[in-house]
């Protein structure tokens, strides 16, 4: 015990794991943070696991499938159609007394916010854990939102792991907490936990005999507003008793320090980065650090006692100021509210070391000399290295569809799009908006209404992927049809959720564990929405696809017309390269090419490169997949079949 009355931990779990490994007692494997979380779900004896893919959470469910198969478990796993659906499927398992887990990325919880808020009131029966991965940076998301704020908003507890190993342990703690207090519990790993790799010790699976047993209790599961008031009071009580429990929980811990001129409060990845940075700066063990693993509800007494024992306290957390906001007396606190910590972007080791170094400077502490890399930044900038922006793959069917669409409708048309690989259609100037999942259809619909009101007819062509259409596009399309909007909707159906790592969609009929389920056909859904023009075609047939786009445009303008839906259908080249291997179209650029680079701008295939010496475009054979579509991309007919 130290001065603050809490346990010093310092890699205790790691040391234990390493010892067990050396003794050869338990199996150890290098796992991705997300795989470690999956292992934690399985070891907790969880019965139902549902998810919708999204970086940085996508690898969790496939790893659950792996462990389920290895161990011969009966766990139900599913890629649900969206996060709200996934949430409720797993929640219902908890109604029956079983354990349920739902997995998503941080913006996925926006979609599942409705059941989150309500289930906080109703509570749960079997353990129910929401695993929601944050993306400070952001690296692969539309916002840097902090899931811990959602925990505050919904009044549910949140646990914040700082490493894959700890994430696995916290899954178990979350299930126990949820079952004890009959509350949903959020586990919030940030991307540097989800996509970290660490050696992880495998522990035995907890066997939980839980036959499904739904006990009718309408005052809870079907509560009307007067009962909701009672449930709200119950929720407040639960939260207060959880806060009490967190005051003494081992999920929070104090690293001792002799110098109390400054103390640190840190959670999640920021705690890990801070620990390593202090060691590198020769400050290991000098200042006390309060590690917060339970950012909500914040153990107020623990924090207040810690703050009282220090002259100043620097709070490091990401992506937002959730702990800081809850600290009641801020007069000693350094953080985001006084600009010491930046309010946007990831707290990388470079950022944290700058913050710490500046504070050490103020304390008059001299730090050991470090490698000065500042001049290198200028030297490297002077090299003018080529920018490597993400691009659609060679042979990608989205490119063919975008190219045909743009060639027919031109630059004056408006192109709402959506979330997926095809957002990279930005590079082809074929994407004008990207708001959220399903936003292509609703934005197209609203744009139509706004122009139509003024008596104007502007061509609008929306693009959306197959998985995204199923996720949130279907209600949007029904709404657009019902309200008499008119536009072209191109559903880019590459038969898989490609961007997040090839998860099967409902249209394929394939289930999360590889078995065949019931297929839900996109075309049938479109028809059921009341669309009067539905055509399906492989967009590699560029000329024919262009003719379809023209017909679709005419249909959207004719008196008895409406929304025209084109389903551009061809498998993702990464997912299924066999069609190209079986029917390759090898292309060549003729000597007549004058290097105008139209193909590079309008078609933007990475395999078309300008050879400056020859002053013409050549094919990069290392990456060309022989799709032959670029033959259409040269207006001077200089790209030909070889």
């Amino acid at each position: 015990m130290d001065a603050f009355g809490c346990v010093r931990r310092c890699f205790a779990i790691g040391a234990l794991a390493a010892r067990n490994h050396l003794l050869g007692e338990l199996r150890q494997e290098v796992l991705l943070g997300n795989e470690a979380i999956a292992r934690g779900i399985v070891e907790s004896g969880c019965h139902v696991v549902a998810s919708y893919p999204g970086t940085p959470s996508s690898e969790i469910l496939p790893a659950v499938v792996r462990f389920k198969k290895e161990l011969g478990l009966a766990t139900h796993v599913e890629w649900s159609i969206n996060e709200k659906v996934a949430y409720e499927v797993a929640l219902a398992a908890s109604y029956t007394g079983k354990r349920g887990a739902v997995i998503m990325k941080q913006v996925g919880l926006n979609v599942a916010a409705d059941p989150l808020m309500s289930s906080a009131y109703t509570g749960v029966k079997g353990g129910f854990v929401i695993i929601c991965c944050d993306d400070p940076g952001p690296h692969s998301s539309q916002t840097e939102q902090d899931t811990r704020f959602f925990a505050m908003f919904a009044k549910v507890p949140a646990l914040d792991p700082s490493s894959p190993r700890e994430a696995k342990e916290m899954v178990k703690a979350a299930f126990e907490l949820s079952e004890k207090h009959r509350m949903p519990v959020i586990l919030r790993p940030a991307i540097r936990v989800s996509h970290a790799r660490q050696n992880i010790t495998f522990l035995p699976v907890q066997e939980l005999e839980r036959p499904a047993d739904f006990e009718k209790d309408p005052g809870r599961w079907a509560a009307t507003p007067p009962f909701r008031y009672i449930l709200h009071k119950e929720l407040n009580k639960k939260l207060a008793s959880i806060e009490e429990e967190f005051e003494k929980s081992e999920l929070n811990a104090c690293d001792e320090g002799q110098d109390h001129t400054l103390g640190f409060i840190a959670g999640g990845t920021s705690y890990s980065v801070l620990t390593d940075t202090l060691r590198e700066l020769g400050l290991d063990g000098r200042f006390p650090i309060l590690k917060i693993g339970t950012p909500h509800p914040l153990p107020q007494k623990l924090v207040a006692d810690f703050v009282a024992g220090c002259n100043q306290v620097l709070i490091l957390e990401e992506p937002d100021a959730v702990i800081e906001l809850q600290v009641l007396d801020k007069h000693k606190v350094l953080g985001r509210h006084n600009g010491v910590v930046p309010s946007a972007g990831e707290l990388t080791p470079e950022v944290i070391s700058q913050i710490v170094t500046a504070e050490m400077d103020k304390l008059g502490l001299e730090l050991p000399p470090e490698t000065d890399t500042r001049e290198l930044a200028t030297l490297v900038a002077d090299l003018d290295l080529p920018v490597r922006r993400p691009r659609l793959c060679p042979g990608c069917m989205h490119r063919a569809a975008f190219f045909a669409m743009k060639r027919v409708l031109g630059s004056n048309a408006i192109y709402p799009s959506d979330i997926g690989c095809y957002t990279l259609g930005l590079n082809l100037k074929a994407v004008d908006t990207c708001l959220d999942m399903g936003g292509a259809v609703t934005i197209a619909s609203g744009l139509y209404q706004a122009y139509h009101q003024d008596g104007k007819d502007v061509p609008i062509a929306a693009t959306i992927g197959d998985s995204t259409f199923l996720h949130a596009g279907v209600p949007a399309l029904a709404n657009a049809v019902h309200n008499q909007a008119r536009f072209i909707l191109i559903i880019l159906d590459n038969s898989i959720t490609a961007m997040t790592g090839m998860q099967p969609t409902a249209d394929s009929g394939i289930l999360a564990d590889g078995r065949q389920g019931q297929r839900v056909a996109i075309k049938d859904l479109v028809r059921a929405c009341g669309v009067g023009f539905i055509e399906e075609m492989d967009p590699y047939r560029v000329r024919d696809f262009e003719a379809l786009v023209k017909r679709a445009r005419e249909y959207s303008r004719q008196p008895d017309g409406g929304i025209a839906v084109l389903i551009a259908k061809r498998p993702c080249v990464l997912y299924d390269p066999t069609p190209l291997q079986e029917n390759p179209v090898r292309v060549a650029v003729t000597e007549e090419c004058d290097g105008c680079q139209y193909c590079q701008l309008a078609f933007e295939c990475p395999a078309l490169v300008l050879n400056e010496a020859l002053d013409r475009v050549v094919i990069d054979r290392r990456i060309c997949v022989n799709c032959g579509v670029c033959i259409e991309a040269c207006p001077k007919e200089c790209i030909v079949e070889a």
């Binding site: 794991a17 490994h21 790799r197 660490q198």
Partner: protein, 189 residues
Amino acid sequence: MKPSNEMDLKLILSGVGGQGVLFATRIFSESALALGCDILGSETHGMSQRGGSVISHLKIGVYASPLIRHGTADVLISFDEDEVYRTLAFVRRGGLCFVNSSRGDFWDAGVEAYLARNEITAHSFGADKIALELGSPRSSNLALIGYAVSVPQLPFGHDEIKATIERITPSRFRVVNLEAFEAGYRREQ
């Protein structure tokens, strides 16, 4: 000799999508695990994988965070002539750097002076050429690893890396991967 399970090493691997940066990282992390060391690393996923820069951090020893800070990496192994410049800031004074390039005069003069001032030992090695001669351009990462292992300052031995490659390579690439590793180790440029 220092017991191997007390290894303390910060390693950055960089390149572009498709060069096998993540597989190369696995070779080092699995080798360290086999020696009884703790490992912690971080890698690139998602949209940035579509043709973008790929960077992998690997810390062997007792660490809390998977990220390596600029100016603190012991070793940088880069499979790409541009990415090596972008990731060079990670290397500490006195560190080691390996780049996949067959050009003897690879380094920009200004950067070369920076390397000298910071006592960073930089090696360039034509791993692509070896892999191409073996008829397996994708094994270039293994050739560069072979070369790096042949440098005494790198705290990994030939045998333990070879054993890991044998263990984790899918069978259809095993022979050619081992050939590339051995050719790199023998420095057959």
